[in-house]
């Protein structure tokens, strides 16, 4: 009796193991949090230096239309207007998402509702393959196929927003499709049965029941695609033309935040304004990534409430 009571009060091998496990997993997560916070701090401190150290006003930065950080403008301040790139990034992202969404949802409906066997055996592997293709390959194809096509169709150089949007559309299509497929698959079978048993047709069931209850998931899929498009650098840089000009149409060279960043980061000296202002662009990208992240969470919560 006393023996067993003693045992209960003691630390056993099992409880020690438990503690070791907890400690290890805590250390892992602490390390990850540390790395993330360091990156955030680094990007933010560098990016804010443009405004604190170099005296650029935030409004000039966000709304200025002329980008030439090496030169001084008429008002005696460096030309650091990032609006052309901000606009470029948003336009290519929205265009790519607008084109990709109907295709992705259509493909997902085919794979889950219309022909699950073909979907599983043929389309699923194809999509997984597409996700895995490196972006430089997409960019290369864009450069060799899309750009000449645009040149022949609309004239000009062929580089521009429309070429970038097409390349991004192909790039995000597999991501959005496979996430949409997962969402549609998670719609309970009994919703479909209930609808069919009420004499609704398959199309009515898909449109009014399956898609309705999958809406939050589908929105999340689209936002993920947009986040990917917004952050893609290499493939966009290869086809957009990289002219830091305010876009006036879709077929002349333009630029995005990422493309200007990749083009110029090797050509500036640490600590100078030219370098700091690139960090400010990076900071915008970071804030947007955070925004997309919060957006998907918000959609998820909204969806859970309904």
């Amino acid at each position: 009796m006393e023996d067993s009571q003693k045992k209960l009060a003691e630390h056993s091998g099992k409880s020690r193991l438990e503690k070791i496990g907890k400690t290890i997993s805590f250390l892992c997560i602490a390390f990850i949090v540390f790395v993330v916070l360091s990156i955030l701090y680094f990007v933010a401190s560098k990016g804010i230096a443009t405004f604190t150290k170099d005296g650029v006003s935030l409004i000039d930065f966000l709304t200025g239309k002329i980008w030439n950080p090496g030169s001084i403008g008429e008002n005696g301040k460096p030309l650091t207007g990032a609006l052309p790139m901000i606009a470029g990034s948003f336009i290519v992202t929205l265009l790519a998402a607008a084109v990709a969404t109907p295709f992705a949802i259509g493909a997902a409906i085919f794979m889950t509702e219309i022909s699950p066997t073909v979907g599983k055996k043929i389309l699923q592997p194809v999509i997984e393959l597409l996700v895995g293709i490196p972006s430089v390959v997409y960019g290369f194809i864009g450069l060799s196929v899309v750009v000449p096509f645009m040149r022949n169709t609309f004239g000009g150089s062929g580089f521009g927003i429309i070429s970038a949007a097409i390349v991004l559309f192909v790039m995000i299509l597999p991501t959005v499709t496979s996430m949409s497929v997962d969402t549609l698959k998670s719609v309970p079978r009994y919703y479909r049965e209930a609808s069919l048993a009420l004499g609704a047709t398959r199309w009515q069931t898909i449109y009014k029941v399956v898609l309705r209850s999958a809406t939050p998931g589908l929105l999340t899929a689209v936002v993920f695609g947009m986040a990917r498009a917004f952050g893609e650098a290499l493939a966009v840089q290869m086809v957009i033309g990289n002219a830091a000009l305010m876009p006036t149409n879709l077929i002349t060279p333009a630029s995005t935040l990422t493309s200007i960043l990749t083009m110029n980061m090797g050509n500036t000296v640490m600590g100078t304004l030219e370098n700091n202002v690139l960090w400010s662009l990076a900071l915008i990208l970071l804030v947007m990534a955070l925004f997309f992240n919060i957006l998907t969470r918000w959609i998820g919560k909204k969806g859970a409430m309904n």
């Binding site: 066997t117 309970p188 009994y190 919703y191 479909r192 049965e193 209930a194 609808s195 069919l196 048993a197 009420l198 004499g199 609704a200 047709t201 009515q204 009014k208 029941v209 209850s213 309904n306």
Partner: protein, 268 residues
């Protein structure tokens, strides 16, 4: 009532003057190579409740699901034989299954309201079948909820999400949703098995009221339920109907030994 008795099965036929809504002739269902229903011939009388009982896996749910062709949705399922609805075979490729399901409604084991309001749950099917008039929809919602004995409880919350209702209320909503289409046959697949005893008895009361207007075919595991509410009972075993007769006779004086064993609880 002409009775056909042979060694293994005892299946009654309806009197010639009885009104039969639905019947099957030599109905077989295959899942791939596996024959789940091995030739079932049954007649269901109008405005009666017929129970389908039998041990798990005997095919009673499969049989019920083939009556409104819900087995079409299962890719490997194949249904042969005749399903006669008012004398017309509906087990043909030409049959408009969507129109047919309007007349042969179905309620499932697990309450499955949509994640929509109570009102929208009921108006959903009516809208799909082309009813647009707001007044007609309002009226159909009210009538069907009254018939399902749910109106008094939800009339002030028609725009509340249906998933907020209790299990028994959800199931009665599913019944209301099915009868809003004014079917004449209502198929129920163990509608009370996921419910507590109070909800169960509410659903049973609802069914007894509904039988004045509808022919009801119900699959149940609960033999008390079958004997309480049904007029006829069919005992399924290994894909065959072993005995089909008035409920009273099946439960008190079954003609076949295996029926007796099952209803008296010796197996199943």
């Amino acid at each position: 009532m002409s009775e056909k008795v042979d060694l293994e099965t005892h299946i009654i036929k309806m009197k010639p003057d009885a009104s039969v809504d639905l019947s099957t002739k030599d109905l077989h269902v295959w899942y791939g190579q596996n024959e789940a229903i091995k030739g079932v011939t049954l007649e269901f009388e109008e405005n009666k409740i017929t129970s389908l009982i039998g041990p798990s896996g005997c095919g009673k749910s499969t049989y019920l699901r083939s009556l409104n062709r819900m087995n079409d949705e299962i890719q490997i399922a194949r249904v042969t034989g005749e399903i006669l609805y008012h004398g017309k075979d509906i087990n043909t490729p030409e049959t408009d299954v969507y129109e047919m399901r309007k007349n042969i409604g179905m309620v499932f084991q697990r309450p499955n309201p949509f994640s929509k309001s109570i009102y929208d749950n009921i108006s959903f099917a009516l809208k799909r079948h082309g009813v647009k008039d707001k007044n007609a929809l309002d009226e159909a919602v009210e009538t069907s909820l009254k018939q399902a004995a749910l109106w008094e409880q939800v009339k002030d919350d028609l725009h509340k999400n249906a998933l907020a209702l209790s299990g028994g209320q959800q199931q009665r909503l599913c019944i209301a949703r099915a009868i809003a289409l004014k079917p004449d046959v209502l198929l129920l697949d163990e509608p009370a098995s996921a419910l507590d005893p109070i909800s169960t008895s509410q659903v049973e009361d609802t069914l007894l009221q509904l039988k004045e207007k509808y022919s009801i075919i119900i699959v149940t595991h609960n033999m008390q339920q079958a004997s309480r509410i049904s007029d006829y009972t069919a005992f399924f075993y290994l894909g065959n109907v072993i005995e089909y007769d008035e409920t009273r006779k099946v439960f008190t004086r079954p003609k076949i030994q295996s029926t007796e064993d099952y209803v008296s609880g010796n197996f199943g």
